[in-house]
Amino acid sequence: MSANRAVPKLCVQGLDLYYGDFQALINVSLEITERRITALIGPSGCGKSTLLRTFNRMNDLIVGCKVVGDVELDGRSIYAPNRNVDDLRKRIGMVFQRPNPFPLSVYENVAYGARIHGLAAGAALDAIVEQSLAAVDLWSGLKDRLDDNALTLSGEQQQRLCIARVLAVEPDVLLMDEPCSALDPVATMRVEELMQELVDRYTIVIVTHNMQQAARVSQDTGFMLLGELVEIGPTNQVFTSPRDQRTEDYVSGRFG
């Protein structure tokens, strides 16, 4: 365990984030361990998505957003001036709250990342597409529909496709921002099962406002409130014997 903890996959140190004058993250520090599922919980608007988006620098796209402090991936700063952001985002994939497949064919959706990074072409690309779809349990169902427009799929299939699209570029880390909030309970359960399969190979950080989900899927849980990371630790401990009173109030359903 301690050997495992020695090399965190992601390490956040004293992170402050501002949207203009508004401070959305206040002195956040945490470590995310490899090949585990870390859940970030907290009431809506507490900064979960914001924190997640600092890991792949998606906040760079927001005008007026300023980041102070640092995030390290495998011990290397991701905010260093010479850091290649496109390469960073290749290594840290993201799945969004609403399924957002491109209005292209199923095949082109999955092949997209591999193509732009020049990972493969021709038969090798076909293989990547097949592997990625198989990894999210879509291959058997969709192998005859690879040319269909992805927007014709069901919500669950679309979200799985978005996960496959990320897997196709072989990232290390998967960021998931409330990936099930647009899905029905059965689809949610199945995506949660999928996450359990994926965690053997990937480090997963999932944002959820659903405490049951965090309890079901994650090994570590961090609780956020008003831009602060109140506490983070093994899921079991955070839910049964939290160190902070605010965490206890939240997980026992007294607010949020």
């Binding site: 796209l61 005008v63 496109d86 290749k90 994939g93 957002n100 292209l104 997209y112 193509r115 699209r165």
Partner: protein
């Protein structure tokens, strides 16, 4: 208590005003077809689209003018479309807000400049340039294409920008989050997603080029002849009407109206295609709305296409 117009009265009056524009459209349609239709029947479509235009000897074939219109229009699109789409990409995707706040009004001004001014600039600047650097007399299909290429820019840019901005942000985010560069995102996701709107922009730009009259007359040379190179002089359908209407009488006059019918039909087809491309209309309403838009084009050729 102050007197207030009853809601109903206001509503009715507005409706009446709106309907009157449709009425004007119908009037124009009926008028053109009544003036030009009989001649079409009389000489037959085959003769009307033949290459012999000689009103003094009762020859009314408009093929050379069709070629002229086709030449300057395709030239204009060749120049205006790549340039316009590039501008639209910069405007919608890349320009920082400050650059955008300069570019956008500039393009709107471009749309508001009277076409005679474009023609004037063409005569003063463009024709001498063509004469000295490329050769020929200057006034030519090439000159017409260049001037029209500039004149279609506001149409192409405006509608393309709308189309690009209608592409959901989530597509861009998904692409960037996969490590795509901004340019890869634009080329592989945003442009394909905006394709139908951009197609509509091109078609409407085409309509704009086909319908333009004054500027083309001033720079294209207006000879009724088969052009053999871009440096040859050409006469467009619109130019033919404007140049000869002043003195035409009888069948000659009717032939010009019949030319108007041809233009009317071309513009109507283009508008219909554009609206279909944008998927904005239910099939049934296409005809009505297209008719209205066509009338607007004919009455006031610079009319800006409605915003999305």
């Amino acid at each position: 208590m102050r007197f207030r117009l009853p809601e109903k009265v206001v509503e009715r009056s507005l409706l009446l005003v709106a309907m009157s524009s449709v009425a004007i459209l119908l009037l124009i349609t009926v008028f053109i077809f009544r003036e030009g239709g009989p001649l079409l029947v009389q000489v037959g479509l085959g003769n009307f689209f033949s290459g012999a235009w000689d009103p003094q000897h009762d020859q009314y074939g408009i093929a050379l003018m069709v070629v002229g219109s086709f030449a300057v229009t395709s030239g204009a699109l060749l120049i205006g479309v790549p340039f316009g789409i590039a501008c639209a990409i910069v405007l919608a995707e890349m320009a920082p807000p400050r650059a955008r706040s300069i570019l956008k009004p500039a393009i709107e001004v471009l749309a508001g400049i009277p076409s005679v001014v474009y023609g004037f600039m063409g005569i003063v600047v463009l024709l001498p340039m063509i004469r000295t650097h490329i050769g020929g007399p200057g006034a030519s299909a090439l000159a017409g294409s260049i001037i029209l290429g500039i004149m279609v820019l506001p149409t192409v840019i405006g509608i393309s920008v709308d189309a690009l901005q209608a592409v959901p942000r989530s597509y861009r985010e998904a692409s960037l989050a996969l490590g795509a560069t901004q340019w890869q995102t634009i080329r592989r996701v945003v442009l394909p997603a905006a394709r139908s709107g951009i197609v509509a922009a091109v078609i409407l730009g085409m309509g704009r080029a086909v319908g333009e009259t004054m500027a083309v007359i001033m720079v294209a040379g207006n000879s009724v002849q088969m052009p053999h190179s871009p440096l040859d002089s050409v006469r467009t359908l619109t130019a033919n009407i404007a140049l000869e209407m002043g003195y035409a009488a009888g069948d000659h006059r009717a032939a010009l109206f019949a030319t108007g019918i041809v233009l009317f039909v071309i513009i109507m087809i283009l508008n219909t295609l554009a609206n279909l491309a944008r998927g904005r209309l239910k099939k049934r309403s296409v005809v009505v709305v297209t008719l209205a838009a066509t009338a607007a084009d004919l009455v006031k050729p610079r009319a800006k296409p409605e915003e999305q």
